[in-house]
């Protein structure tokens, strides 16, 4: 199974400026978050993946196929929801989505059927005959999502999908994204500067800083690793520490009943509770370490721009923080 997106020494220049500089990485997540501050090159990367910009050097691959040279084939498999407004104001919503689906290659009848379905799916079923120019901002965002999914793409590129949405509409949009992700039929690349949105939906993130990759991080693995790192506060240690160590866990005491424990693979939490009961120790507080996406992002932003890593050999694991 090829990676969803592979970047190999990708460099994009617009005019005299280098916007993307020597990007290397392989992304295989079901839902990939594209993070970075404003001007870091997120939209440029999406536009390059769509073939709107030609790389000055290097290459980008989608599903193992090089973007330049396979544009038509790849675009047929991509659904794109741009950041800015993108609609024909005097067309009704359903006609617009049908039109776009037909351009993607769906026969007229199927396009009509799927346009209706897409509008119901995003929750605009009742407004589908209204002209797009009369839609509110939230409705326009949903209509953009509808046109992106109507032709049933394999990869969805969502550029700032929650931009300008009120909290309710934002939740609705994230819910839709998660639903689409969970069908397992489509991969998503979500560009956003809202860390929470990405954290809620994505299992892998790529963080850009000044046109270079600051980090590629598999959030799923990160979450699993976090589940093994515990912070405990106990009433008294009373031999509890030694017992935990005897289970094969790493354990350190910081005084005042504060312990940090790294669980080994075969240990479950109930064993800790059992040990605590045996030693008459009260567990007053138990926290998983929460190395949130915000921490990861801030670490990536605070570190100097790393030198570009060599392109990964095929099948290798992703770069980690």
């Amino acid at each position: 199974m090829p990676a969803v997106i592979e970047l190999e020494n990708l460099e994009v220049r617009l005019g005299q400026r280098t916007i993307l500089d020597q990007l290397n990485g392989s992304l295989s997540g079901r839902c990939i978050g594209l993070l970075g501050p404003n001007g870091s090159g997120k939209s440029t990367l999406i536009n390059t993946l769509l073939g709107f910009y030609r790389p000055a050097n290097g290459r980008a691959r989608i599903f193992g196929k090089e973007v330049q040279g396979n544009l038509r084939e790849l675009r047929a498999q991509i659904g794109f929801m741009p950041e800015s407004d993108a609609f024909i104001a005097d067309m009704s919503g359903v006609r617009f989505v049908r039109y776009m689906a037909e351009i993607s290659g769906l026969p007229a009848n199927e396009a009509m059927e799927r346009a209706h379905e897409a509008f119901f799916y995003v929750g605009l079923g009742e407004a589908r005959y209204r002209k797009l120019g009369t839609y509110s901002l939230g409705m326009k965002q949903l209509a953009k999502l509808a046109q992106a999914i109507a032709h049933g793409p394999r990869l969805l590129l969502l550029d700032e999908p929650t931009n300008g949405l009120d909290p309710e509409a934002r939740l609705r949009m994230l819910q839709l994204v998660r639903e689409i992700r969970d069908t397992g039929q489509v991969n998503l690349l979500i560009s956003s500067h809202l860390l929470r949105d990405v954290e809620e939906c994505c299992d892998e993130v790529i963080i850009l800083k000044e046109g270079r990759i600051a980090a590629i991080c598999n959030l799923e693995e990160e979450r699993k690793a976090n589940l093994k790192f515990l912070e405990l506060e106990v009433s008294q240690e009373n031999g509890f520490l030694e017992s935990v160590k005897s289970l094969g866990c790493e354990c350190a005491s910081f005084g005042g009943g504060r312990l940090k424990v790294v669980l080994s693979d075969n240990i479950e939490l109930r064993q800790l509770y059992r040990l605590a009961a045996e030693h008459s120790v009260q567990i007053r507080r138990m926290n998983y370490r929460r190395d949130s996406l915000e921490d990861i992002f801030l670490k990536a932003m605070s570190s100097g721009t790393p030198p570009p890593p060599p392109p990964p050999p095929p099948g290798s694991s992703n770069g980690r923080l």
């Binding site: 617009l14 005019g15 005299q16 400026r17 536009n47 769509l50 709107f52 910009y53 544009l71 038509r72 084939e73 675009r75 047929a76 991509i78 794109f80 741009p82 800015s84 407004d85 993108a86 609609f87 024909i88 104001a89 005097d90 067309m91 039109y99 776009m100 037909e102 351009i103 993607s104 290659g105 769906l106 026969p107 199927e110 799927r114 209706h116 379905e117 897409a118 119901f120 799916y121 079923g125 046109q147 999914i149 032709h151 049933g152 793409p153 394999r154 639903e179 689409i180 069908t183 039929q185 489509v186």
Partner: protein
């Protein structure tokens, strides 16, 4: 993705052939244009010269009808190259207004809210997008220029008899070539201006200005420099110079109509240069993303 289930489902059905996708743009473009009642009314009005021509040909070949208008056979004008050139000229002007009305909106509405990026993010190239839009004008203008002219040619050949059709077969070719040349110039110019200014009203004004104000500048240029080269800025004149050659208008008649003030090659060169500039402009401006040079 069934409505009642409201779940996402990928599409796995058949796809239309890739080469036919530009036709979707043409189909939607035509439908959108004819959604406007005034536009539809004007498009119907453009067929009036055709109906008048049909009536004229019929009357000229019908003794009883001629008698009704107090004419006898032999007193009627000859239906030949002049007649067809004049007919095409009238239709071309009406078609120009049709284009100035409809064409700018077709492109500017795609640019107004950045929907151009949605077209080009699909399996549709810049050339196919353009082809789709130009075909709208191509179909529309063909229906008001060379198709009615060819019908009139066939009717005339049928009623005239005596091998008139075969003897004047070159005229059919001239009608098609002359009309297609005009359609290409008007379509590309209107598209390029619409892409350039991206505002429907401004594009329409520019289109009209190109055909009415530019000749005035050319005239001033001619007056000041005592030359005729300023006429190259008068695209309708340039077109008539080419048409007079295609319709084999004799030298004497061309001189009387002042169609010989500029050489024929310069007229052809003007049309080609204008079309080339329009194509270049379309290629430069028809992008999903603008790149700021810096």
């Amino acid at each position: 993705m069934a409505v009642y289930k409201r779940t996402y489902k990928a599409y796995s059905g058949a796809l239309t052939p890739a080469w036919s996708r530009f036709g979707v743009l043409a189909r939607y473009g035509l439908k959108t244009l004819f959604n406007s009642r005034p536009f539809t009314a004007y498009a119907v009005l453009c067929l009036f010269p055709f109906l008048f021509g049909l009536l004229t040909i019929y009357v000229f070949h019908n003794t009883a009808a001629l008698a009704l208008v107090n004419l006898r056979p032999g007193q009627t004008p000859i239906i030949g190259n002049y007649w067809f050139m004049a007919f095409l000229g009238i239709e071309a002007w009406m078609s120009f207004l049709l284009t100035a009305w409809g064409a700018p909106g077709m492109i500017s509405r795609d640019f107004a809210n950045h929907s151009i990026q949605l077209y080009l993010s699909r399996p549709l190239s810049q050339v196919e997008y353009l082809l789709g839009k130009v075909s709208v004008l191509g179909i529309l203008l063909s229906c008001t220029t060379w198709i009615p002219a060819l019908i009139l040619f066939v009717v005339q050949a049928q009623l005239q008899g005596n091998g008139w059709g075969w003897a004047n077969l070159w005229l059919a070719g001239s009608i098609v070539v002359a009309a297609l040349l005009g359609i290409a110039l008007i379509s590309l110019l209107s598209m390029a201006l619409a892409v350039w200014v991206r505002w429907r009203i401004a594009a329409t004004a520019l289109m009209i200005g190109t055909f009415f104000l530019l000749p005035a500048f050319g005239g001033i240029f001619d007056l000041i420099l005592r030359t005729h080269w300023g006429r190259l800025l008068n695209f309708s004149y340039v077109m008539m110079v080419i048409w007079s050659s295609l319709f084999r208008v004799p030298e004497q008649q061309r001189h009387i109509a002042q169609f010989d003030l500029i050489p024929l090659w310069s007229a052809w060169a003007t049309v080609f240069v204008v079309c080339a500039i329009c194509l270049w402009l379309l290629h430069r401006r028809l992008k999903a993303r603008e790149v700021e040079r810096g």
